[in-house]
Protein backbone atom coordinates (compact mmCIF):
# COMPACT_ATOMS: atom_id res chain seq x y z
CA UNK A 1 0.00 0.00 0.00
CA UNK A 2 1.49 3.31 -1.03
CA UNK A 3 1.79 6.23 1.41
CA UNK A 4 -0.82 8.18 -0.54
CA UNK A 5 -3.35 5.36 -0.19
CA UNK A 6 -2.78 5.28 3.56
CA UNK A 7 -3.74 8.95 4.09
CA UNK A 8 -7.49 8.30 3.80
CA UNK A 9 -7.80 5.51 6.42
CA UNK A 10 -5.39 7.23 8.82
CA UNK A 11 -7.32 10.49 8.58
CA UNK A 12 -10.56 8.60 9.17
CA UNK A 13 -9.09 6.96 12.27
CA UNK A 14 -7.86 10.31 13.60
CA UNK A 15 -11.24 12.01 13.02
CA UNK A 16 -13.13 9.08 14.58
CA UNK A 17 -10.86 9.05 17.63
CA UNK A 18 -11.32 12.80 17.99
CA UNK A 19 -15.09 12.48 17.81
CA UNK A 20 -15.14 9.60 20.28
CA UNK A 21 -12.97 11.59 22.68
CA UNK A 22 -15.34 14.56 22.39
CA UNK A 23 -18.37 12.36 23.03
CA UNK A 24 -16.69 10.76 26.03
CA UNK A 25 -15.67 14.13 27.47
CA UNK A 26 -19.17 15.50 26.95
CA UNK A 27 -20.69 12.46 28.65
CA UNK A 28 -18.38 12.89 31.63
CA UNK A 29 -19.23 16.56 32.10
CA UNK A 30 -22.95 15.86 32.16
CA UNK A 31 -24.62 14.28 35.20
CA UNK A 32 -25.14 10.59 34.57
CA UNK A 33 -28.60 9.10 34.39
CA UNK A 34 -28.28 7.89 37.99
CA UNK A 35 -27.19 11.22 39.37
CA UNK A 36 -29.79 13.97 39.84
CA UNK A 37 -29.26 17.12 37.81
CA UNK A 38 -28.85 19.88 40.38
CA UNK A 39 -26.87 22.17 38.08
CA UNK A 40 -28.23 25.71 37.91
CA UNK A 41 -29.18 28.73 39.99
CA UNK A 42 -30.96 28.38 43.30
CA UNK A 43 -32.42 30.80 45.83
CA UNK A 44 -32.95 30.31 49.52
CA UNK A 45 -36.42 29.03 50.19
CA UNK A 46 -38.65 28.62 53.21
CA UNK A 47 -36.67 30.80 55.57
CA UNK A 48 -38.97 30.60 58.54
CA UNK A 49 -36.96 30.58 61.77
CA UNK A 50 -38.86 28.92 64.53
CA UNK A 51 -41.39 27.39 62.15
CA UNK A 52 -44.23 28.31 64.46
CA UNK A 53 -47.78 29.20 63.73
CA UNK A 54 -50.79 27.32 62.47
CA UNK A 55 -51.61 25.77 59.17
CA UNK A 56 -50.50 22.53 57.62
CA UNK A 57 -46.77 22.19 57.46
CA UNK A 58 -45.24 22.39 54.01
CA UNK A 59 -43.08 19.25 53.66
CA UNK A 60 -40.65 21.08 51.38
CA UNK A 61 -39.79 23.54 54.17
CA UNK A 62 -37.10 22.15 56.46
CA UNK A 63 -37.63 21.79 60.20
CA UNK A 64 -36.76 24.61 62.56
CA UNK A 65 -33.12 25.29 63.24
CA UNK A 66 -31.90 24.28 66.63
CA UNK A 67 -29.18 26.14 68.53
CA UNK A 68 -25.81 24.42 68.84
CA UNK A 69 -25.21 22.25 71.90
CA UNK A 70 -21.99 24.05 72.77
CA UNK A 71 -19.95 23.02 75.77
CA UNK A 72 -20.42 25.49 78.66
CA UNK A 73 -17.26 27.55 78.14
CA UNK A 74 -17.97 27.94 74.41
CA UNK A 75 -21.66 28.59 74.97
CA UNK A 76 -20.62 31.43 77.27
CA UNK A 77 -18.45 32.89 74.50
CA UNK A 78 -21.23 32.64 71.93
CA UNK A 79 -23.84 34.15 74.25
CA UNK A 80 -21.52 37.02 75.17
CA UNK A 81 -20.94 37.83 71.50
CA UNK A 82 -24.64 37.57 70.61
CA UNK A 83 -25.54 39.84 73.52
CA UNK A 84 -22.86 42.37 72.58
CA UNK A 85 -24.10 42.42 68.97
CA UNK A 86 -27.70 42.88 70.12
CA UNK A 87 -26.91 45.63 72.61
CA UNK A 88 -24.71 47.53 70.17
CA UNK A 89 -27.40 47.39 67.48
CA UNK A 90 -30.03 48.60 69.95
CA UNK A 91 -27.84 51.63 70.66
CA UNK A 92 -27.54 52.34 66.94
CA UNK A 93 -23.84 51.52 67.05
CA UNK A 94 -23.59 48.05 65.50
CA UNK A 95 -20.44 46.01 65.88
CA UNK A 96 -18.57 45.64 62.62
CA UNK A 97 -19.01 42.14 61.21
CA UNK A 98 -16.52 40.51 58.85
CA UNK A 99 -18.77 41.55 55.97
CA UNK A 100 -18.02 45.19 56.81
CA UNK A 101 -14.44 44.43 55.79
CA UNK A 102 -15.70 42.66 52.65
CA UNK A 103 -14.63 39.36 54.17
CA UNK A 104 -16.82 36.53 52.87
CA UNK A 105 -18.85 34.27 55.12
CA UNK A 106 -17.11 30.97 54.35
CA UNK A 107 -18.44 27.57 55.37
CA UNK A 108 -21.04 26.69 56.37
CA UNK A 109 -22.60 30.18 56.50
CA UNK A 110 -22.36 30.63 52.72
CA UNK A 111 -24.84 27.78 52.31
CA UNK A 112 -27.36 30.09 54.02
CA UNK A 113 -27.48 31.74 50.57
CA UNK A 114 -28.34 35.31 51.43
CA UNK A 115 -27.86 35.84 47.70
CA UNK A 116 -28.54 33.16 45.08
CA UNK A 117 -26.19 30.22 44.62
CA UNK A 118 -25.15 28.32 41.52
CA UNK A 119 -24.34 24.60 41.47
CA UNK A 120 -22.17 23.20 38.68
CA UNK A 121 -21.72 19.47 38.13
CA UNK A 122 -18.62 18.56 36.17
CA UNK A 123 -16.36 15.54 35.87
CA UNK A 124 -15.16 14.62 39.35
CA UNK A 125 -16.35 17.82 40.96
CA UNK A 126 -19.39 19.74 42.14
CA UNK A 127 -18.81 23.47 42.43
CA UNK A 128 -21.01 25.79 44.48
CA UNK A 129 -20.85 29.54 43.95
CA UNK A 130 -22.58 32.05 46.23
CA UNK A 131 -23.25 35.33 44.48
CA UNK A 132 -22.39 37.57 47.44
CA UNK A 133 -18.63 38.05 47.61
CA UNK A 134 -18.36 35.52 44.72
CA UNK A 135 -17.75 32.70 47.15
CA UNK A 136 -16.67 29.42 45.55
CA UNK A 137 -16.37 25.96 47.06
CA UNK A 138 -15.23 22.85 45.27
CA UNK A 139 -16.48 19.41 46.27
CA UNK A 140 -14.11 16.74 44.95
CA UNK A 141 -16.00 13.56 44.10
CA UNK A 142 -14.92 10.05 44.98
CA UNK A 143 -11.67 11.08 46.61
CA UNK A 144 -10.47 10.13 50.06
CA UNK A 145 -10.61 12.84 52.70
CA UNK A 146 -7.28 14.19 53.84
CA UNK A 147 -6.22 14.21 57.43
CA UNK A 148 -6.95 17.50 59.19
CA UNK A 149 -3.24 18.18 59.65
CA UNK A 150 -2.75 18.01 55.88
CA UNK A 151 -5.28 20.74 55.10
CA UNK A 152 -4.35 24.39 55.36
CA UNK A 153 -7.29 26.10 57.09
CA UNK A 154 -9.35 28.38 54.89
CA UNK A 155 -12.81 29.85 54.40
CA UNK A 156 -14.24 26.92 52.42
CA UNK A 157 -12.03 24.07 53.61
CA UNK A 158 -11.37 20.79 51.86
CA UNK A 159 -14.55 19.09 50.68
CA UNK A 160 -14.92 15.56 49.33
CA UNK A 161 -18.19 14.03 48.25
CA UNK A 162 -19.90 11.06 46.68
CA UNK A 163 -23.32 10.26 45.36
CA UNK A 164 -25.25 7.82 47.51
CA UNK A 165 -28.27 7.16 45.34
CA UNK A 166 -30.03 10.51 44.93
CA UNK A 167 -28.04 12.20 47.69
CA UNK A 168 -24.76 14.05 47.40
CA UNK A 169 -22.89 13.28 50.61
CA UNK A 170 -20.15 15.80 51.42
CA UNK A 171 -17.59 16.14 54.18
CA UNK A 172 -15.62 19.33 54.76
CA UNK A 173 -12.66 19.94 57.05
CA UNK A 174 -10.14 22.74 57.38
CA UNK A 175 -12.21 25.81 58.23
CA UNK A 176 -10.32 28.67 59.85
CA UNK A 177 -11.27 29.11 63.49
CA UNK A 178 -12.05 32.80 62.92
CA UNK A 179 -14.63 31.87 60.25
CA UNK A 180 -17.62 31.71 62.56
CA UNK A 181 -21.10 30.41 61.92
CA UNK A 182 -23.82 32.00 64.05
CA UNK A 183 -21.11 33.35 66.34
CA UNK A 184 -20.34 29.84 67.57
CA UNK A 185 -16.68 29.09 68.30
CA UNK A 186 -15.25 25.98 66.66
CA UNK A 187 -11.94 24.15 66.69
CA UNK A 188 -9.76 22.82 63.90
CA UNK A 189 -11.37 19.43 64.57
CA UNK A 190 -14.68 20.58 63.10
CA UNK A 191 -16.19 18.43 60.36
CA UNK A 192 -19.13 19.62 58.32
CA UNK A 193 -21.20 16.80 56.84
CA UNK A 194 -23.83 17.59 54.24
CA UNK A 195 -26.53 15.63 52.46
CA UNK A 196 -27.84 17.45 49.39
CA UNK A 197 -30.93 16.00 47.79
CA UNK A 198 -34.01 17.09 45.87
CA UNK A 199 -37.24 16.95 47.87
CA UNK A 200 -39.21 17.91 44.75
CA UNK A 201 -38.16 18.63 41.17
CA UNK A 202 -37.64 22.29 42.09
CA UNK A 203 -36.63 22.21 45.77
CA UNK A 204 -33.21 21.14 47.02
CA UNK A 205 -32.28 20.55 50.62
CA UNK A 206 -28.86 20.73 52.21
CA UNK A 207 -28.95 18.85 55.51
CA UNK A 208 -25.88 20.00 57.40
CA UNK A 209 -24.44 18.31 60.45
CA UNK A 210 -21.56 20.01 62.22
CA UNK A 211 -19.35 17.88 64.41
CA UNK A 212 -16.68 19.26 66.70
CA UNK A 213 -15.51 17.13 69.64
CA UNK A 214 -13.78 20.15 71.18
CA UNK A 215 -16.64 22.68 71.26
CA UNK A 216 -19.87 20.72 70.81
CA UNK A 217 -21.60 18.34 73.23
CA UNK A 218 -23.33 16.69 70.26
CA UNK A 219 -23.60 17.26 66.50
CA UNK A 220 -25.38 20.44 65.40
CA UNK A 221 -27.93 20.05 62.62
CA UNK A 222 -29.14 22.76 60.29
CA UNK A 223 -31.09 22.31 57.06
CA UNK A 224 -31.35 24.84 54.26
CA UNK A 225 -33.78 24.64 51.35
CA UNK A 226 -33.36 26.20 47.93
CA UNK A 227 -35.73 26.77 45.03
CA UNK A 228 -34.64 26.57 41.39
CA UNK A 229 -34.22 29.85 39.53
CA UNK A 230 -34.44 28.58 35.95
CA UNK A 231 -34.12 32.01 34.34
CA UNK A 232 -31.49 33.54 36.61
CA UNK A 233 -27.79 33.89 35.88
CA UNK A 234 -25.64 34.80 38.85
CA UNK A 235 -24.42 38.40 38.82
CA UNK A 236 -20.86 39.45 39.51
CA UNK A 237 -20.08 40.74 42.99
CA UNK A 238 -16.94 42.72 43.68
CA UNK A 239 -16.48 44.69 46.88
CA UNK A 240 -15.36 47.68 44.86
CA UNK A 241 -15.83 50.70 47.09
CA UNK A 242 -16.67 49.88 50.65
CA UNK A 243 -17.52 53.05 52.54
CA UNK A 244 -18.21 51.12 55.71
CA UNK A 245 -15.37 50.53 58.14
CA UNK A 246 -14.70 49.52 61.73
CA UNK A 247 -13.53 52.26 64.06
CA UNK A 248 -11.00 51.77 66.87
CA UNK A 249 -13.79 50.36 69.10
CA UNK A 250 -14.82 47.85 66.44
CA UNK A 251 -18.04 49.70 65.66
CA UNK A 252 -19.44 49.88 62.14
CA UNK A 253 -19.07 53.39 60.70
CA UNK A 254 -19.59 54.96 57.32
CA UNK A 255 -17.35 57.32 55.35
CA UNK A 256 -19.46 60.35 54.65
CA UNK A 257 -19.38 61.90 51.24
CA UNK A 258 -15.91 60.93 49.95
CA UNK A 259 -15.38 63.00 46.82
CA UNK A 260 -19.13 63.75 46.58
Amino acid sequence: MSARRLIGPVALIIVTCGLLTQVATHAQTKPSAQVPDITGSWERYGFIPGQRGGGPRDPTIPPAQTPPALKPEFLKQQQARVQAVREAAAKGEPLASDNVHCIPEGMPAMMGAQFPIEILQSRGQVTIIEEAFTQVRRILLDRPQKSIDDVEPGFYGHSVGRWEGDTLVVETIGIKENVRYQNAPHSNQMRIRERLHLVSPTILWDEITIEDPVTLEKPWQVTYAYRRMPDYTLLEYVCEDNREYADEKGLQKIRVNPGK
Binding site: R44, F47, I48, P49, G50, R52, G53, A88, A89, A90, G92, E93, P94, S97, N99, V100, C102, G112, Q114, F115, E131, A132, L235, Y237, V238, C239, E240, D241, N242, R243, E244, Q252, K253, I254, V256, N257, G259, K260
Partner: protein, 141 residues
Protein backbone atom coordinates in the same frame (compact mmCIF):
# COMPACT_ATOMS: atom_id res chain seq x y z
CA UNK B 1 -59.86 42.91 77.91
CA UNK B 2 -59.89 46.63 77.08
CA UNK B 3 -59.44 47.48 73.40
CA UNK B 4 -56.13 49.24 73.98
CA UNK B 5 -54.71 46.20 75.77
CA UNK B 6 -55.95 43.96 72.99
CA UNK B 7 -54.25 46.25 70.47
CA UNK B 8 -50.96 46.20 72.39
CA UNK B 9 -51.00 42.41 72.69
CA UNK B 10 -51.90 42.13 69.01
CA UNK B 11 -49.08 44.50 68.05
CA UNK B 12 -46.53 42.57 70.10
CA UNK B 13 -47.83 39.36 68.54
CA UNK B 14 -47.40 40.86 65.08
CA UNK B 15 -43.86 41.98 65.85
CA UNK B 16 -42.96 38.48 67.09
CA UNK B 17 -44.68 36.86 64.11
CA UNK B 18 -42.81 39.19 61.73
CA UNK B 19 -39.52 38.44 63.47
CA UNK B 20 -40.19 34.75 63.04
CA UNK B 21 -41.32 34.82 59.44
CA UNK B 22 -39.53 37.71 57.71
CA UNK B 23 -36.34 36.76 55.93
CA UNK B 24 -34.06 39.27 57.60
CA UNK B 25 -31.02 38.51 55.50
CA UNK B 26 -28.45 41.26 55.46
CA UNK B 27 -24.69 41.32 55.26
CA UNK B 28 -24.42 44.77 56.79
CA UNK B 29 -26.31 46.21 59.72
CA UNK B 30 -28.64 49.15 59.11
CA UNK B 31 -28.88 49.82 62.86
CA UNK B 32 -26.96 53.08 62.37
CA UNK B 33 -30.11 54.55 60.83
CA UNK B 34 -33.12 55.99 62.64
CA UNK B 35 -36.01 53.55 62.46
CA UNK B 36 -38.52 56.06 63.86
CA UNK B 37 -38.61 58.73 61.14
CA UNK B 38 -37.82 59.46 57.54
CA UNK B 39 -36.69 62.55 55.65
CA UNK B 40 -37.73 63.50 52.14
CA UNK B 41 -34.77 64.92 50.25
CA UNK B 42 -35.40 66.80 47.01
CA UNK B 43 -32.15 67.53 45.28
CA UNK B 44 -29.79 67.39 42.37
CA UNK B 45 -27.69 64.29 41.84
CA UNK B 46 -23.94 64.90 41.90
CA UNK B 47 -23.05 61.19 41.64
CA UNK B 48 -24.76 57.80 41.42
CA UNK B 49 -22.20 55.34 42.76
CA UNK B 50 -23.04 51.92 41.34
CA UNK B 51 -20.86 49.67 43.50
CA UNK B 52 -20.89 46.77 45.88
CA UNK B 53 -21.17 46.20 48.75
CA UNK B 54 -23.61 49.14 48.54
CA UNK B 55 -24.57 51.79 46.03
CA UNK B 56 -24.68 55.48 46.99
CA UNK B 57 -26.64 58.44 45.73
CA UNK B 58 -24.96 61.80 46.29
CA UNK B 59 -27.38 64.69 46.43
CA UNK B 60 -27.20 68.49 46.73
CA UNK B 61 -30.32 69.56 48.61
CA UNK B 62 -31.45 73.16 48.80
CA UNK B 63 -31.85 74.37 52.37
CA UNK B 64 -34.69 76.76 53.38
CA UNK B 65 -32.17 79.65 53.37
CA UNK B 66 -31.24 78.84 49.77
CA UNK B 67 -27.87 77.28 50.54
CA UNK B 68 -26.99 73.81 49.34
CA UNK B 69 -26.42 70.93 51.73
CA UNK B 70 -24.86 67.73 50.49
CA UNK B 71 -26.36 64.39 51.48
CA UNK B 72 -25.03 60.88 50.95
CA UNK B 73 -27.78 58.31 50.53
CA UNK B 74 -26.72 54.73 51.12
CA UNK B 75 -28.55 52.17 49.03
CA UNK B 76 -28.39 48.37 49.10
CA UNK B 77 -26.17 45.97 47.18
CA UNK B 78 -26.43 46.57 43.44
CA UNK B 79 -27.14 42.84 43.06
CA UNK B 80 -30.27 43.17 45.16
CA UNK B 81 -31.20 46.34 43.27
CA UNK B 82 -30.79 44.64 39.90
CA UNK B 83 -32.98 41.74 40.98
CA UNK B 84 -35.87 44.17 41.54
CA UNK B 85 -35.31 46.07 38.31
CA UNK B 86 -32.82 48.82 39.14
CA UNK B 87 -30.25 49.69 36.45
CA UNK B 88 -27.12 51.80 36.62
CA UNK B 89 -28.41 54.19 33.94
CA UNK B 90 -31.59 55.11 35.75
CA UNK B 91 -29.92 58.03 37.53
CA UNK B 92 -27.19 60.36 36.30
CA UNK B 93 -25.46 63.47 37.60
CA UNK B 94 -27.67 66.52 37.19
CA UNK B 95 -30.96 64.65 37.60
CA UNK B 96 -33.50 66.12 39.98
CA UNK B 97 -34.73 63.34 42.23
CA UNK B 98 -36.59 62.86 45.49
CA UNK B 99 -35.34 60.37 48.03
CA UNK B 100 -37.14 59.14 51.14
CA UNK B 101 -34.41 58.22 53.60
CA UNK B 102 -34.01 57.01 57.15
CA UNK B 103 -31.51 59.52 58.58
CA UNK B 104 -28.33 58.33 60.26
CA UNK B 105 -28.47 58.57 64.07
CA UNK B 106 -25.21 60.55 64.31
CA UNK B 107 -26.88 63.59 62.75
CA UNK B 108 -24.53 63.61 59.78
CA UNK B 109 -26.07 64.38 56.36
CA UNK B 110 -26.44 60.69 55.54
CA UNK B 111 -29.49 58.52 55.09
CA UNK B 112 -30.54 55.05 54.08
CA UNK B 113 -32.52 55.21 50.84
CA UNK B 114 -35.94 53.58 51.10
CA UNK B 115 -37.55 55.03 47.99
CA UNK B 116 -36.41 57.27 45.14
CA UNK B 117 -38.55 59.20 42.67
CA UNK B 118 -36.49 59.41 39.49
CA UNK B 119 -36.20 62.41 37.19
CA UNK B 120 -39.00 61.03 34.97
CA UNK B 121 -41.34 60.76 37.94
CA UNK B 122 -41.04 56.99 38.33
CA UNK B 123 -41.07 55.93 41.96
CA UNK B 124 -38.76 53.04 42.89
CA UNK B 125 -38.41 51.26 46.20
CA UNK B 126 -35.07 50.00 47.45
CA UNK B 127 -34.88 46.33 48.49
CA UNK B 128 -33.85 47.16 52.06
CA UNK B 129 -34.08 44.08 54.31
CA UNK B 130 -36.87 44.51 56.87
CA UNK B 131 -37.86 47.79 55.17
CA UNK B 132 -41.15 47.79 57.09
CA UNK B 133 -39.20 48.31 60.33
CA UNK B 134 -38.45 51.89 59.21
CA UNK B 135 -41.38 54.13 60.20
CA UNK B 136 -42.14 56.56 57.40
CA UNK B 137 -42.83 60.08 58.60
CA UNK B 138 -41.47 61.81 55.49
CA UNK B 139 -40.36 65.10 56.99
CA UNK B 140 -39.36 67.38 54.15
CA UNK B 141 -35.76 68.52 54.33
Amino acid sequence: MPCRRVAVVFSIGCVIACALTTPVLAHHSFAVYDHTRTLTLRGTVTKFQWTNPHAFLELDVKEPDGSLKHYSVELTSINMMQRVGWRSNMIKAGDHVTAVVAPILTGEPVGLGLEVTLADGTKRELPVPAAASFKRTAETQ
